[in-house]
């Protein structure tokens, strides 16, 4: 028999290491032709930290993303990036890039203020132009600015780093400030369960994530979709089997450790939620791990909801489902 069920799962996630310093740094140079070198330590493992660094630099400097070239994760070139973990790179390396850009802009501001004859604090850098927020007719292009920089023998270089504002936690009770900022999420997921075979079909999944400020909407969606794939797999198909004698992993291959294929995916509706804050670069927060988490409890709850049973253990494999359903039938027949 096929039965459907719905589950809700929520989470919050502290960005960066827990109650520990975990700084990251960046170097920036705006070149005479308005192209920019951004150098970060952060390892990009496909999640997009380099793209994030480019976007934060472009936004801060008032240039286009095409102007930015990012070099990353080469220890002889790039400063400390810390680990790509704890969903920290957008928040921490992003802030480091912003700080490095702000430093580089010191000379840019001074030069533009001289040329436009306006106070530095009135200057707006946006879309490859510099203008006064008080009088937008006072404006110059970026190439003009870089020309003025060259004429004066000034360089637009910056080094910046960021260390989240946390405290060490008190060993007695863990009190303190473990993280500077938190990401939040809610996932609602629908499944269909075959009570005869225990097969689970993931139907639909809505997953809303407070990312502060989305840097790149498609990358946000991609993280949520990929996280949902991994989170649902956590519950219904993935498990490491350990040989009880040798304690070796029995299924170290992709044919025996079952991750979902495209045919196993639900229809996913990712939602990026914005929230107001100053801590992250333009308010941005991490998403890598939050993307995964809420679909795990949501899947557990949805399968439970379909059967009218509560599951407290993972994984929930077909055999567990058949067993739970039979036990429930037996209990109902007795009662």
């Amino acid at each position: 028999m096929k039965r459907r069920g719905t589950g809700v799962g929520c989470m919050f996630y502290g960005i960066g290491n827990t109650g520990l310093p975990n700084p990251a740094a960046a170097f920036v140079e705006v070149l005479p032709d308005t192209s920019v070198n951004v150098i970060v330590g952060a390892a990009d493992i496909g999640q997009g930290s380099s793209t994030m660094a480019a976007a934060v630099a472009a936004e801060t400097l008032g240039l286009a993303i095409e102007n930015i070239h990012v070099t990353w994760a080469d220890t002889q070139v790039a400063p400390e990036g810390g680990a790509t973990s704890a969903s920290r790179q957008t928040f921490i390396t992003g802030n480091a890039v912003k700080n490095a850009c702000t430093q580089a802009m010191g000379e840019l501001r001074r030069t533009a203020a001289e040329k436009l004859e306006v106070p530095e604090e009135d200057l707006v850098f946006r879309n490859r132009e510099i203008y006064s927020s008080k009088d937008e007719t006072k404006r110059m292009t970026y190439p003009e600015l870089m020309g003025a920089m060259s004429y004066r023998g000034r360089l637009a270089v910056g080094a910046g780093y960021y260390n989240p504002k946390t405290t060490y936690l008190n060993p007695a009770d863990m009190s303190g400030v473990p993280y500077e900022v938190y990401s939040y999420a809610t996932c609602i997921l629908e499944v269909e369960v075959d009570t005869d075979t225990g097969e689970v079909t993931l139907l639909k999944c809505v997953s809303a994530h407070d990312v502060g400020t989305p840097i790149n909407p498609k990358m946000v969606e991609g993280q949520i979709e990929g996280g949902t794939a991994m989170g649902t797999g956590f519950v219904i198909s993935e498990k490491i089997d350990v040989d009880p004698k040798t304690l070796a992993i029995k299924n170290p291959t992709l044919s025996k450790y079952i991750i979902g294929t495209n045919m196993d995916m639900p229809e996913i509706y990712p939602i990026a939620v914005s929230s107001e804050g100053e801590a992250g670069p333009f308010g941005a927060k991490g998403l890598g791990e939050p993307a995964l988490i809420p679909s795990i409890p949501a899947t557990m709850a949805a399968i439970g909801n379909a059967l009218g049973v509560t599951f407290t253990k993972t994984p929930i494999f077909p055999a567990d489902i058949v067993k739970a359903w039979k036990d429930k039938q037996a209990a109902e027949n007795q009662g």
Partner: protein, 298 residues
């Protein structure tokens, strides 16, 4: 991979001679979806590897005088795409359509699937359900037999009776008359693609003009060393009007049989004895639908 010599004969005769010549330590390769992995992991260490992929004479699907003949080198993809197989032999169509992945179906051959005789081979389960014949050739000549006989191997060490220098060249079976006969297959697996069968259940059922079952054959792969037959279930159906209710009556028999065969593995048998019933419920529903006898709502 350890070293070996490689031959790619152009004809079956040439291949058989090579196999005979090197039979002490030879491996033949067609799709390669099993052998290359074994070679790569140093689990298979032949001195000679003979490639069969150039034997175009063994790549065919023919229907002759009511018999379907499929050459051993026909890929799963080719069988799944064949319109006649899709229309007349659902059990084989469904089995081949769901083997591995598109890439694997483009490589893997029906002959390889049968000769490997893997526990979870879907093509094998389907062909056994069809009570197919296989043709084996060697330098000594040709022999033909039922798949059931072919699989009378010695289990782990030798999976079937194929001699070291013998080639499985063809599988054949009677073309079902779809006015009276339906065939069906359901693959229970851990994911919806790239999956190995947990159970691959197949059925052939024939009814007369009054809907009375005159023939039934049920087999399920991955429940034992070879596809498991359910003779008591079949006997229960023959002579009765084929209805979902009647077919469901076979499920307790099936349950007990699977339990008995797998009782040494307590946890896996629980799931197998229960889910095999779910698998065949779907198979039954499909058969009844194809025969136009009953539409079963899940």
């Amino acid at each position: 991979m350890r070293p070996f010599d490689f031959y790619a004969p152009a004809t079956v005769v040439e291949a058989l001679e090579l196999m005979h010549q090197h039979k002490e330590n030879v491996a033949v390769i067609a799709g390669g979806t099993d052998l290359v992995l074994e070679l790569n992991e140093r689990k298979a260490n032949p001195a000679v590897v003979i490639d069969l992929k150039k034997l175009k004479e063994l790549d065919y699907i023919r229907v002759e005088e009511g018999v379907v003949r499929i050459g051993a080198l026909t890929t799963h993809a080719a069988i799944a795409a064949d319109r006649q197989i899709e229309k007349y032999v659902r059990v084989l169509h469904e089995a081949c359509r769901q083997v591995g992945s598109p890439q694997i179906r483009n490589l893997g051959t029906i002959g390889g699937n049968l000769a490997q005789s893997s526990v979870a081979g879907d093509g094998l389960a389907a062909c056994v359900t069809l009570d197919a014949d296989v043709t084996l050739r060697s330098v000594r000549g040709e022999r033909r037999m039922k798949l059931d006989e072919f699989l009378a191997g010695e289990g782990a060490t030798r999976r079937n009776i194929l001699a070291a220098d013998e080639l499985l060249t063809e599988v054949s079976f009677a073309l079902p008359d779809i006015r009276h006969t339906a065939t069906a297959f359901y693959k229970l697996a851990k994911r919806k693609s790239l999956a190995i069968s947990v159970i691959g259940g197949g059925m052939v059922a024939t009814v007369d003009d009054n809907g009375i079952c005159t023939y039934a054959r049920m087999r399920a792969g991955a429940l034992g060393r070879y596809p498991m037959p359910f003779p008591t279930c079949e006997a229960h159906l023959v002579g009765k009007k084929l209805t979902y209710a009647t077919m469901l009556e076979t499920l307790p028999i099936m349950h007990d049989q699977v339990l008995e065969a797998n009782k040494s593995r307590p946890w896996s048998v629980f799931y197998k004895k229960e889910s095999v019933q779910g698998v065949f419920k779907k198979v039954f529903a499909d058969v009844l639908h194809q025969l136009g006898l009953e539409e079963v709502q899940e």
